[in-house]
C-alpha cells in the first residue's frame, strides 16, 4: 500500500501555472533527462506551446558546481534579451537537495523579477501544494505597505467565465473582483496588494493566504459559490468580511441560492451512488453539488492533505455520509471500489480504468471537471448534465466490459502486488454490475 498521495510529479502543478504566464520565462532546473522529458511531455500536451528551459545537468556538472554558473548566465541573458516581467526559477528534487545558492542570483535585472520557487517533489507531495507555493513565492516578493484597498482577490484556477460571474454578484452587494490568480500576467499577482479580501476558491491555498494575512494584513474567506448552501454562505461570508450592507447581502445570497436550487432540480440524481477521487483539490465542491442533487457519495478521496481551509466543507460532507480521505493514493481508491455499488465514478486515470473494466461509467476528474464551471446556477447545470449523460451511457460500458471478460461477467485485473481483491461477487451482490440486461436510465432523467 502506498503511503503518499499519488499524483503526477507534484512540481508540475507549479510549472503549469508558471508556463501559462504570458510575461514570464520559467527556468525549470531538471533532475535529469527523465524528469525533464516527463515535464516537457505533459506541458506540451496540457499547458502551452512554448519552450521550457533548463541548465544542462549531469553528475559531473553537479560535482563541479557548473550548473549554478550556467543558471546564473541564463537568467542574466534571458532578462537582458527578452525582458520578461518574471523569471521564476523552479528548483526540483536534485537541485534542491544539492542546495544551489539561489540567494546569489540577482533579484531584479532591469524590470525583470527573478523569483526562486522551491519545488522538491519529495516534500511538496501534491500538485495542489505546488500551486500554493507558486502564489506564495510570487506574492511574498511584494512590499507590504498599501493604504487604500478595495475588492476581492480570487485565488484558484476556475472556469474562464467564473470571475466575470463572481464580479457581477459582488457588484450587486457593493464590492467587486480586484484580481484573479493564477493569472496570465505578473501584474495579476502584483494587484493582490490592492485587494481588501482574499478568497481562496480552492482550499489548498492555505499557505499563501496565511502568509498574506501575516505580511499584508489581508483577511480571507473560505469556500466557493458552489451548490445551494455553498453559494449562499460564500456570498454571506464575503459580505460579513467586508462589512457590507447585511440586508442587500442577504437578498442577493438568497436569490443566487434559489437559482442554484432551481437549476439542480433539473438533474435529480436520487438513488445514484457516486465515487469521486481527484488530485486537483476542488473535489469537495463537486461532491457538495452531487449530494445536493440527491446523489449518495459515500467516498471522496483527494490527494490534498488535511487543511484548515477545508474543515467546514469537510464537516458538511461528513454529516451527509461521505467519507473523506486526504492524501489518498491509487491503492486506496481502487480498493474502495469494493465498498459500495457505484453507479458512476469521477476519478483518477487508474481508478477509472478499473471502474470501466467493471462496466461502471467513469470519467477522468481532471479532464472532465477542470474544463467546466461549477459555480452558481450555470455551473451546477453544466456539471450535473455531464454527470447525468455519463451515467446514462451505463449500457455501453456494461456491454464492453462483458465483451472483454472471459465468461460474460466483468472481472477486475488489479492483481499486481498491491492488494489482490476480486470484488466482482461483491459488486454483483450489490447490483453495481448489473445482470445481463442492459441498464435502464432512471425515469427521472427522461424529461
Amino acid at each position: 500500500m502506498s503511503k503518499q498521495a499519488s499524483s503526477m510529479c507534484p512540481a508540475f502543478g507549479a510549472i503549469r501555472n508558471l508556463l501559462r504566464m504570458e510575461d514570464a520565462m520559467p527556468i525549470v532546473i531538471s533532475s535529469g533527462d527523465g524528469c525533464m522529458y516527463g515535464h516537457t511531455f505533459v506541458a506540451h500536451f496540457y499547458v502551452a506551446n512554448r519552450p521550457i528551459f533548463s541548465p544542462g545537468v549531469s553528475s559531473q556538472m553537479w560535482a563541479k558546481g557548473s550548473v549554478f554558473d550556467e543558471l546564473k548566465a541564463m537568467v542574466i541573458e534571458m532578462a537582458e534579451k527578452h525582458q520578461p516581467s518574471l523569471i521564476p526559477i523552479c528548483s526540483l528534487c536534485v537541485s534542491d537537495t544539492v542546495g544551489l545558492p539561489f540567494e546569489l542570483l540577482p533579484k531584479q535585472i532591469g524590470n525583470t523579477e527573478i523569483v526562486y520557487v522551491p519545488l522538491p517533489a519529495y516534500s511538496v507531495h501534491t500538485h495542489a501544494k505546488a500551486k500554493d507555493i507558486v502564489v506564495d513565492s510570487l506574492v511574498w516578493r511584494l512590499p507590504s505597505q498599501r493604504k487604500a484597498r478595495a475588492g476581492v482577490n480570487l485565488i484558484g484556477e476556475v472556469f474562464p467565465s467564473d470571475p466575470i460571474k463572481i464580479d457581477e454578484v459582488l457588484r450587486r452587494i457593493g464590492s467587486h473582483v480586484n484580481t484573479h490568480v493564477p493569472g496570465p500576467r505578473w501584474a495579476d499577482y502584483v494587484a493582490m496588494v490592492d485587494g481588501s479580501l482574499n478568497a481562496p476558491l480552492h482550499p489548498f491555498y492555505s499557505e499563501s493566504v496565511k502568509r498574506m494575512k501575516m505580511k499584508q494584513g489581508l483577511p480571507f474567506v473560505e469556500g466557493a459559490p458552489v451548490g445551494i448552501s455553498g453559494t449562499y454562505s460564500w456570498i454571506k461570508s464575503v459580505g460579513e468580511a467586508l462589512k457590507l450592507n447585511p440586508a442587500v447581502v442577504e437578498a442577493v445570497a438568497s436569490e443566487e441560492r434559489d437559482k442554484v436550487e432551481a437549476a439542480i432540480a433539473d438533474y435529480p440524481l436520487n438513488g445514484l451512488t457516486f465515487m469521486v477521487a481527484g488530485y486537483e483539490g476542488h473535489e469537495f465542491l463537486l461532491v457538495r453539488l452531487l449530494i445536493e442533487a440527491g446523489a449518495k457519495v459515500p467516498y471522496l478521496s483527494t490527494s490534498v492533505n488535511t487543511n484548515p481551509l477545508a474543515r467546514e466543507e469537510e464537516a458538511w460532507l461528513r454529516e451527509r455520509g461521505c467519507t473523506v480521505l486526504y492524501g489518498a493514493n491509487f491503492d486506496n481508491e481502487i480498493g474502495a471500489l469494493e465498498d459500495h455499488p457505484y453507479d458512476c465514478v469521477i476519478g483518477t486515470t487508474p481508478l477509472c480504468a478499473h471502474a470501466k473494466e467493471l462496466g461502471i461509467p467513469s470519467i477522468y476528474y481532471t479532464n472532465a471537471m477542470a474544463t467546466r464551471s461549477l459555480m452558481f446556477a450555470e455551473g451546477a447545470s453544466d456539471v450535473l448534465s455531464l454527470v447525468m449523460s455519463t451515467y446514462r451511457s451505463k449500457a455501453r460500458y456494461d456491454k464492453i466490459a462483458r465483451f472483454f471478460s472471459d465468461d460474460g461477467v466483468p472481472k477486475r485485473t488489479y492483481t499486481s502486488w498491491a492488494p489482490t481483491i476480486d470484488i466482482t461477487e461483491h459488486l454483483l451482490a450489490n447490483a453495481a454490475v448489473a445482470p445481463h440486461e442492459a441498464a435502464v436510465p432512471i425515469a427521472a432523467t427522461e424529461r
Binding site: 522529458y37 536534485v94 502486488w417
Partner: protein
Amino acid sequence: MALKQELPTDVVNTPIRKRVTDLDHAGGDTGAMQVFASLKDGNVVLDGPVGCHVMPAVAVINYTDSVPYLQNVTCSELSENEVTIAGTLPVLKEKVARANVPGRQVFIVSTPVSELIGAAWTTTDEDVKGSPLFFNAQSLDDDEWMARDRSLLFLWQNRDHFVRPESAGPVPACARPSVNIVGPTYGCFNSYSDLAEIKRIVAGIGADINVVYPFEASSYDTSRLSDARATIVMYQEFGKSLAREVGLPTFYAPFGLEDTTTFVTDLGAALGLEAEAAAFVASEKKTTLAAWHDIWRSTHSDFFANSPIAIVAPPSYKDGLERYLGDELGLPISYSAYRTGPQSAPSEDVRAALCDASPSPMLIFGSINERMIIAQEKLPSRFYQASFPGAVVRRATGTPYVGYAGAVWLLQIVCEILFDTLFANLPTSYAPPQKALKPTAEIMRDGQDAAADGGKGQNSVIAWTDDAKALSEKTVKRVPFFVRVSVTKKLRAEAEKLARERGGPVDVAIVEEITAAYRPR
C-alpha cells in the same frame, strides 16, 4: 546496405549540453523501467519520490502507449526524511517485500535523487535465484536509449538468476528455424505496428518466433534467447549489446522496398529458408505491395520530385525514412537531423534550419517539438509524427513504418498530405461568386475613355513597387513548389484588389498584409 550479420555498434549517449530546451529523450530511470516493466513477470520498484513513478508510469505512458497506467511499477516514495536523514533503504525494503510475490521477478531501479544521495540496494540474498535485482540506471548521466540497451544486457547477464515456475509448463521448442525479436519496450514510437509487421514477415518466410524480447517474454525466457538461429533488433537505438552477447546473426528492422527485400533474403539465408524467402517476396509483390505499385504508377508520384520533406527523429527512423522517402521515392530531403545519440541536433539548431530551409518542406516528420516550431514560426509545412515526445495513439497495428507494409503506409501518408496541401491552397474560395454590379453595356460605356486615362483607369494593370515584387518572390519561394502557382495567383489577385481599392500601386505594406502567414523571418 550490409544488413547481414552487421556488427552491432555501441550505443552512445546523447551529449548533455550546457543548456536544455524541449528535450526529446527521457533519462536512464525511465528507459530501464520501460524494459523491466515490459516483462510479463516483472515488478519494478523505482527508488525515488512519487513523481519519478507517476510521471513516466501513469502520465506519460498514457500518451505514448495508451495504457491507463503500468500496474507493475511502484516506487519507494522518498520524502524529506529519507532524502536528508534516513536514507532510502528502510522504505525501499518495505516496498520490495510487497512486490516480491511468488511468480514475479522484482527489479529495483535507481532515480536521480537516489543516485545523488548514494542510495543502493544491499541484501544478503543476492545469490538466491529469483531474489530482487538492483539496476543502477545512472539516471544523472544516461539517456533512455542507453539505459534500455544496458538493461537488456543486464537481463542477459543475469539469465541464470531467473526462475521458470512450474506453471509455465515445459520449455517450448520451435519446430521450424526460429528468430528472436529484440525490442520494442514501452515508450517506443509506433512500435506496436512495427512489431506486427516484422512478425508477419518472419511468419511469411516460414520461420518461428523464438522470443519477442522483452515485450512478450518473461524474465525466465532470457536464457532461451540462445535457442534461436538469428536475432532481429527492432531499432538501432538499443538492444545491440544484448544481440552481440547472444552471438547470433543480427538484423535490423528494414525501411522501404529495397531494404526489406535485402532483409527478407538475408534472413532467409541465415535460417536456411532461401526458397521460402524468395517465394515470400514474390507473393508480397502481388499482395501487400500491389497497392504500392498502383500508387507508384499513378500520377501521385509525379509530384514527389518537387515535394521536399524534413525528417527529425531518432536514428532508426531518421535514417530509415531518409533512405526510403529520399533515395527510393525521390522526395527531396530539405533537412534531416538526429534527435538522439552523439550526433543529435539541439532544438535551437533544428528551429533555425527549418526556418531557413527554402523551399520550406511540404511535410516535416518529427516530434511535438517540430510541430511547435511549425506553429510558432508560421511555417507553411504540414506535420506528421515520427517520434516521441508528443501525445499520440498508435495501438492499431496497421500503421507500420518498417517492412513492406510500412512502405505502403508511408507512401499513403505522403500522398494524403500532398492532397491536403493542395486542397488548402486551392485558388477558388468557398464564397459565393461576386455579384455583377453593372450590365455589360455599362461596363463598355465606362471603358470608352480607358485609352485616354493613360493607364490609370479601371482597365489598367496595377503597378508593383520593386520592394513589393522582391518580397512577393521571397514569400512565394517558401511555399512548397507543388502549390506555388496557386499561391502566386492568389497573392497577386488579393494584392491588386487592395491596391485598386486604395488607388495606388502594390507596395510592401500590401504584400505584407496578405502574406502575414507566410512571412519569412
